[in-house]
């Protein structure tokens, strides 16, 4: 999207980000970056500030201090749409799709292909949506078509559609906040597969998930957030699953991070 984007420039870089709500100081100087084609897991206790942090990245909240760089360029995001235009997309589990509408309408919601009078090019939208379902999602059965309503889909399929939609619109970084909540085991696997698919397409993911097993299975890097600060950042090779779990338990009890 940007001229000066090289493989080395991180997609997103946070420098000393602070965020307060009134007197509540939620983020206290966060430094973090997300590179191209990597899955970064954001882990930490409830209330650590994970959701607040991603809301800063997606333009929901303005930081109270520090700077946010997208593709190496300092930005001051005005809205969710602003972040989206810069290739950052959030997939929320329940809020992503409208249940009673057909898939083709959902996929193009807010970004319809229209003529100058605002009438939609429905044929083209359906064709694109169909291609999306078949290539990205691998839906080849006749049961699910672009005319199907969302309410007939399973939780994992919905999540998949939301992710495929984000990819289709050239998102560079897709943020998944608790994407497996309330899903069956099999569905969870599908969603984690989608996350890997994003990385394989050369895009990046920030994953928030309470389940350390999920996190360890797919992430390339773990960033541990504790009371508004980054307590540590580890590559997957540095830390086995059990070490990660042990570390999180210890952080929870002692408030200290010991690296094994």
């Amino acid at each position: 999207m940007n001229q000066n984007t090289s493989q080395q420039t991180p997609i997103v870089e946070l420098r000393d980000i602070h965020k307060s709500f009134g007197r509540v100081h939620v983020l206290r100087g966060v430094d973090m970056e997300v590179g191209r084609g990597e899955i970064v897991a954001l882990v930490g206790d409830n209330g650590a500030g994970k959701s607040t942090l991603i809301k800063v990245i997606t333009g929901v909240h303005k930081p109270s201090g520090g700077s946010l760089l997208i593709n190496g360029e300092a930005v001051d995001l005005q809205s969710v749409q602003d972040a989206r235009r810069r290739g950052i997309e959030t997939v929320y589990q329940e809020r992503a799709l409208a249940d009673q509408q057909a898939l083709w309408r959902n996929i193009f919601a807010g970004r319809e292909l229209t003529n100058w009078l605002g009438f939609m090019n429905i044929r083209e939208q359906k064709r694109e949506a169909d291609r999306l379902l078949r290539t990205r999602m691998g839906f080849t059965s006749r049961a699910i078509t672009v005319d199907s309503e969302v309410q007939g889909l399973s939780g994992g399929e919905k999540q998949g559609i939301a992710i495929a939609r984000a990819l289709h619109f050239e998102a560079e970084l897709i943020i998944l906040d608790e994407p497996t909540m309330g899903l069956s085991l099999k569905e969870t696997d599908k969603v984690l597969d989608f996350a890997r698919g994003i990385r394989d397409a050369g895009k990046s993911v920030i994953l928030i998930d309470h389940n350390i097993l999920h996190v360890h299975a797919v992430a390339d890097r773990f960033v541990v957030l504790d009371r508004g600060r980054v307590a540590g950042s580890f590559r997957k090779e540095q830390l086995s699953r059990d070490q990660l779990i042990e570390m999180m338990v210890e952080l929870h009890h002692t408030g200290q991070l010991h690296v094994a």
Binding site: I122, G138, T140, D200
Partner: protein
């Protein structure tokens, strides 16, 4: 079902003709149902009172009166699709009717009266929209308030008196708006049909229609997808105000008289047309085509019932019966899919 980024996309298997028809029926089951209900109703009329229903005269009479509730029902379909309701549009129609009459009396200008009536109708609708979308007053509460307010306002302005407007007849505008085509077809019906086609296209094919469906379905997801939720709501209510102004212009031009009660009695028939047409109160789905058929049904019911020799006060009973049957049919066909 894994994510793959393979380049070759197998095209959807081409469906056979029979399957195509089945799919069309499935995707348009509301529209099919309302069309069947309409056909059955007319079969009953034709069998029950053939001497009336084979005469063109009765259709001329339907066509002249139907557009008043018709144009308002079209716009009300958007409001109901949002999952909202508006009870004030008949009062707004009253205000517009007064503005239309009074400005014509004061200036003698037909086009100026038309523009002012439309502008005032739209402004009243805008006020509803702002109260509901910006301030956050629930639509049923907000529009109960404005319903009483505007009706009271008209009564105060008109001091409870009517206004004779016979001079409207002399203008070419009169012929364009409510004149008669060869065969006695009223122009207001032509306008209604043109508007109905436009509203149908907007509902299903325009980005605005799509946004109304999304906001009515899931406001939060609509917002997340970058749809300007507040603006969509405000436009819907403003549009209903505008159409109430148009209804006032048609009615006052046709009868060349203003009453302070203008618009009274249109609330339930207009909303009934929307509900009979298959747009449910929950929001997020509906049918503009259904509303048009609903208007044709409601608009021909009263005269039809009377013509069949049943006494007029049975109309309400039949209204009630039809609405109940229609919404029951929809509930059933939407449940089993």
């Amino acid at each position: 079902m894994a994510v793959s980024v393979s380049q070759h996309a197998p095209a959807s298997p081409a469906p056979e003709r029979g399957e195509k028809v089945m799919r069309f029926v499935r995707q348009n089951r509301i529209e099919v149902a309302i069309t069947v209900i309409f056909a059955i109703l007319y079969a009953i009329f034709l069998i029950g009172a053939p001497e009336v229903y084979t005469q063109f005269g009765i259709y001329r009479s339907f066509m002249s009166t139907m557009p008043y509730i018709g144009v308002m029902a079209l716009a009300a379909t958007f409001v109901v699709t949002l999952g909202e309701v508006d009870l004030s549009f008949p009062s707004v129609m009253g205000v517009s009717a007064w503005v239309f009459g009074a400005s014509f009396v004061a200036t003698g200008s037909y086009p100026l009266a038309v523009v002012l009536a439309l502008a005032v109708g739209a402004a009243c609708g805008l006020l509803n929209g702002l109260l509901i979308a910006r301030v956050g007053v629930p639509s049923i509460v907000a529009t109960i308030g404005t319903m009483f307010f505007w009706r009271g306002f008209v009564n105060v302005l008109a001091e409870g008196r009517g206004m004779a407007l016979v001079d409207l007849r002399g203008s070419a505008w009169h012929s364009v708006l409510v004149g008669r085509l060869p065969g006695g077809i009223p122009m207001q019906f032509v306008w209604f049909i043109l508007l109905a086609l436009l509203f149908m296209a907007i509902y299903r094919r325009h980005v605005f229609g799509s946004h109304v469906l999304f906001v009515g379905d899931n406001e939060e997801s609509a917002h997340m997808m970058g749809i300007k939720v507040m603006r969509v709501k405000v436009i819907c209510f403003t549009l209903l105000g505008l159409m109430s102004g148009l209804a006032a212009i048609f009615l006052v031009s046709e009868v060349t008289y203003f009453w302070p009660t203008t618009g009274d009695g249109f609330l339930l028939p207009a909303l009934a047309a929307v509900f009979i047409g298959g747009t449910p109160v929950f929001g997020g789905r509906g049918s503009m085509y259904g509303t048009v058929i609903g208007v044709l049904i409601i608009g021909s019911l009263e005269a039809g019932v009377v013509a069949m020799g049943i006494e007029g006060f049975y109309t309400q009973l039949i209204y009630g019966l039809l609405i109940t049957i229609a919404v029951t049919v929809y509930a059933v066909i939407m449940r089993r899919k």
